[in-house]
């Protein structure tokens, strides 16, 4: 393997993983990262953990505002209207 196409180190991968998941990585780096993943169980697990982290974080979302706040907001809206 040529020197300038050195394999990505795991230590480097963990720092660029957000760029990878955000799709903001140049194609060349992306290929380098994906090549690394095919050969590295640790980084494959790390990527999976990152995805699980994102999905768990999303479960914190609440669907409703407290009813008394909603009432207050509506009252304020009616006040504004009149």
């Amino acid at each position: 393997m040529k020197l300038f196409r050195r394999d990505m180190a795991c230590r480097e991968l963990v720092e660029v993983i957000t760029d990878y998941l955000e799709g903001t990585m140049p194609a060349r780096d992306r290929r380098r990262l994906e090549r690394h993943l095919t050969a590295c169980d640790g980084c494959t697990a790390y990527l999976e953990q990152m995805r699980e982290t994102i999905s768990l974080t999303g479960r914190l979302r609440e669907k409703d505002v407290p009813p008394e706040l909603e009432d207050r907001l509506l009252a304020a809206f009616r006040g504004w209207k009149s």
Partner: protein
Amino acid sequence: MQPVETSVVDALRDGDEETFRRLVKEYGPSMLRVARMYVSSRAVAEEVVQEAWLAVVNGIGAFEGRSSLKTWIFRILTNIAKTRGQREGRSIPFSAVVGDESEPAVDPERFLGEDSRFPGHWAAPPRGWGPEDRLLAAETMAVVEDAIAALPASQAIVITMRDVEGFDAEEARNALDISETNQRVLLHRARSKVRQALEDYLG
């Protein structure tokens, strides 16, 4: 403006209560959570949200649609929240430059040293987190919640907008008035720390 959005804006200008109620249902919970990151208590966050909605209806006549309605609403919210937090003597998020001060995503001790055969590769690789029911347990969710609460405010706000409330990168950075790079660096640091907290707990 998108046609749908134009009709929403028009209805709001006309004082249509149903439209207002719908917007409150859609954005209210996210507004509350984001506001909470800037101020000292849930009660103050509710006041901020109320003040923001008043500013929205008062300002809707002048809304020109240069950003999406959602971005505009959250711009108003974060400005009010910032002022309020400042008055409470809290430090202002996003006031510091996001530097390249070293904040590694993973403890450097977990990688092999330069003198090893594979420098920079895992010495202590991560492992799978096991069954779904453990991941989704209330205790695990509390770990995520606590990890976010422990983050510096700018990181907490970005991860909340992106990963809790589902804003895309563009929406988040416009609502917060930060650069694309800062948004990504803050998100990266936040996610890395939440992952670490989960690994400590589940690992």
